[in-house]
Symmetry: C2
Subunit: 237 residues, 2 copies
Amino acid sequence: MMKKYEMIYRDLVRKITHQLYPANTYLPSENELTELYGASRETVRKALANLLENGFIHKIKGKGSIVLTFDRYAFPISGLTSYHELDELFDMKTETRVLKLSTTTVPQTKFNLDTTEVIPATYIQRLRIVDGEPLVIDNDYVVQAVVPTITETVAANSLYDYFENQQHLEIGYASKEVTVAPATEEQQAILHITPGSSVVIVKSETHLQDNTLLQFTESVHRSDKFKFVEHARRKLI
Amino acid sequence: MMKKYEMIYRDLVRKITHQLYPANTYLPSENELTELYGASRETVRKALANLLENGFIHKIKGKGSIVLTFDRYAFPISGLTSYHELDELFDMKTETRVLKLSTTTVPQTKFNLDTTEVIPATYIQRLRIVDGEPLVIDNDYVVQAVVPTITETVAANSLYDYFENQQHLEIGYASKEVTVAPATEEQQAILHITPGSSVVIVKSETHLQDNTLLQFTESVHRSDKFKFVEHARRKLI
DNA sequence: CAGTGGTCTAGACCACTAG
DNA sequence: TAGTGGTCTAGACCACTGT
């Protein structure tokens, strides 16, 4: 049984993206939505809070919830979203090429670990090609204590799909860190960029719902093709 | 009168940052917090939802809310936070130098506006110097229809403080876009970086609570000093 | 089993916006 | 004044975790 507020959220997202509720118009009021979906007001408000957080709407006290214009072509650094899911949502022609697949340990220096920690892991290097252009190198270290083996077929498809649907692991959260650095020679060669170019590096550390460490990832993006957008609300620290 | 869930949130943040609730330990249960603060469970949960969103805790069903390690030294792209507020929270030695202050219109091409739109604005260029090093150039265009005049004194201090406390405007949200580009000669000179260096460009469009446009900002960061971290939770698009 | 967080409800009062 | 979203409550049932 699907959660009610999730149902309402999805239905509203669909109606917004299909412009049944166009940008710069107001959604039905919370009381109306309460009747429409046969839910209590707090449940409707939970769905709206989700829309708010994801930048679909802005709420104005005394007036209503206004639909915002939605930028479709941004890379979601925020959020944990797989390329496979992106593929289905937008129609980017994405191709994934597995460059390396081996068994090692997580490199401590790269991910700021204690030098004492030795974590056996499966190392996967993949190249993401979008519309014929090599855009991103993903270096994944998947903790073997959680996922013992990963085949090349799985790597070529979606790790997340494998984790969630085959292994029945539940992804919880990740801490991400974004920096910019000069491209190494290997990166220049793989990404087809000139010496002296910069790359954007996104390092992340993914945990399961029960807080166990699952995966370390270093994503290396071509900086000239890198872009991400964010919806920020005013909040106190 | 302060909102109850905001009180609870702030108190918990304080206790976490002061390590009264250390990392990797559990917070008191929701029922205990309900008694501790004399609030209903849903109110406590609203405070916890805030902690969750800001990466302070992770919740595990059947077990409790676990405190996460908090990275203090990240630049908050996410969120709308002024340098002044950062200054007070961390103790960075921040200095702001006003380079330009004039009256113009918002440049359409830079912010992807319709060429027909002509928006009179106050232009402010400021240099942010942290620990003696020039790190960021902020180019702000403040819509004159909302804020008619801005003095050099105000610009040298905090625009947000001026907007919120003097002008009594309420900041609502901003859409932000992050890209990387080669530094222009002017940027090289101001930021003391070598030719061929990259800069990180954060463009944003800030709105008030009532949805009126307040401000366009282009922030140019030295890429070698740029870093931001994010806490991402698994969610469906 | 008792305790935890996750979902949902029905109802209340408030502050704000509009005509 | 009527309608909107914002806050808060008290209580219910569920699924999950540990013992």
